[in-house]
Assembly symmetry: C2
Homo-oligomer: 280 residues x 2
DNA sequence: CTGATAACCTTACGCCATAAAGAGTTCGCG
DNA sequence: CGCGAACTCTTTATGGCGTAAGGTTATCAG
């Protein structure tokens, strides 16, 4: 797990919120010595490229430097250290997310769109799921994405305390669900073994090592055999492995369940302050 | 992220499912050469102790070896490598979870108990949240815990496909929610800075670096100021920081919302196969 | 041109996982 | 009893990591 901002917090924050070059807050440059050939933005982009392509594990100061034709140490002129680089990468990536949803079709549709966008974002940049949320990065785009979700949920008319909990619930759920799909993809890429292959090999071995599996886990076996969507005939298609599509379906169904619960909470709040729901 | 089983899969599996010493499946020992002073179990316990105390980041073959008075390399006689050790630690820890819940008070109460136990388990061993779920460890206790949850949910009478999705939803949610609380605790332990301190310092810096924060994120500011539970007067008490207790409340409220949704799904299924809900 | 300064490099340190090979111990068997 | 096989455990080495320290060089102000 990568923890945020262990270095000088002030420097981290001003890097995250840095104004575009040349603004009054950022004088062009002291203009002495050689011109910098790199920039924070270029380094962050290179970092994202590495992490997207090879995963967070492959992200090192050396690999990022190499991608820019520099040594690892060259980066330290621009960025205080690796943790700050990851923070910058995280916040920069978050900038890809939409910043507004049409409230015309109601909050529920908007939340579904938000969740789908977030899901796809997480699959595009699986490494963002490995950035700790406990001590948030506190960058502009992190705040913007929170504000965006809040704007959507504001339409529910829920009171602040309930709203906070719903936000937490939605974020946890989307991240958790995306994590499974993303890790599956990462594992496949890292090992070169697809999901189906892997599971088949493991199932065979398991049957060998644990001959009494069916007696020990009857419900698991029943759930697996009964009502399983048949895996497609010809391996993986353009939309990822079978398991990945299963994860997507679990995600959509779970979101629907959650939104049903939210609607119940709204109804309860509308019924008056006496009827206190589970959100208090 | 730690991926499971990159070594010889057969060896991993038989380690995970190893029968107790002396069984017919495991002859006492070839009995030649010095008696082993260590054992897989002792190493796994030492690993758990290290990870519990210092976090997953501090878990290295060296630290585990040191705790047993050995070098790092001594462990390789018992365990193929670090990934296998982590798998074994994970499955061993899962053995702490209860294996059955009283169905007398209904499935909902049982699920709430299950969730609370899982939550506490995750806070007791925060590192388990860093073990990838995409390629499961496939150990006995992992399967047992799934079977336990299934036994609880079996009482809902939901059909297999819906059941699978509910299981995924619950597991994602509990892990996601616990992760925040656990990471917060980990970060506090790793940096020696408590949550409140950290946030106050950051809030001050943020106000300095981003003077127009309130204009840019009006909803966030409103949500923070309105209806906030006042932090307790005197810092952290026995039950963790203020933020950790907030996380716990978010967790309980979120679970209630989810269970409301599950009840709706049950009602819909009972209404007949024509009324298809979001779980299909 | 000179001296200061900033960008970049080389080197080095202490971590990490683990491969390879050797040291030391304990037994089965001749 | 004694030898060699089998086994545990250590030492050493390789190639990775983040980054501290210090050197080199390009580019500027004066």
């Amino acid at each position: 797990m990568v923890f945020a901002g262990q270095g000088d917090p002030r420097r981290s924050l001003s890097l995250l919120w840095r104004a575009p070059e040349g603004t009054e807050e950022r004088p062009p440059r002291p203009a002495r010595g050689p011109k910098p050939a790199l920039s924070v933005a270029a380094i962050v982009d290179a970092g994202i490229a590495v992490a997207d392509a090879e995963g967070m594990a492959a992200l090192s100061m050396r690999t990022v430097g190499e991608r820019l034709g520099r040594t690892a140490m060259a980066l330290y002129t621009y960025v205080p250290g690796k943790t700050e680089l990851v923070d910058l990468m995280y916040d920069r990536a978050l900038g890809e997310l939409p910043t507004g949803y049409d409230p015309a079709d109601g909050w529920r549709t908007a939340v579904v769109s938000w969740a789908a966008d977030t899901w796809e974002f997480c699959l595009r940049h699986p490494w963002v799921l490995q950035v700790s949320q406990a001590r948030p990065v506190l960058g502009p785009n992190e705040y913007t994405s929170m504000e965006t979700l809040l704007r959507v949920l504001d339409a529910t008319g829920l009171e602040p305390a309930a709203l906070r909990r719903i936000v937490g619930l939605l974020v946890h759920f989307v991240r958790g669900a995306a994590r499974t799909a993303a890790e599956s993809r990462q594992a496949a890429a890292a090992t070169g073994v697809g999901d189906e292959e892997w599971w088949q090999a493991r199932a065979g071995l398991l049957a060998e090592v644990v001959p009494d599996f069916a007696e020990r886990f009857p419900l698991l076996v029943r759930l697996e055999t009964e009502g399983a969507t048949p895996p497609p005939g010809d391996g993986e298609d353009a939309h990822g492995s079978y398991l990945e599509r299963e994860a997507r379906r679990t995600f959509e169904a779970g979101l629907a369940v959650i939104l049903d619960g939210v609607e119940a909470a709204i109804a309860r709040q509308a019924a008056g302050p006496c009827a206190r729901g589970p959100l208090e």
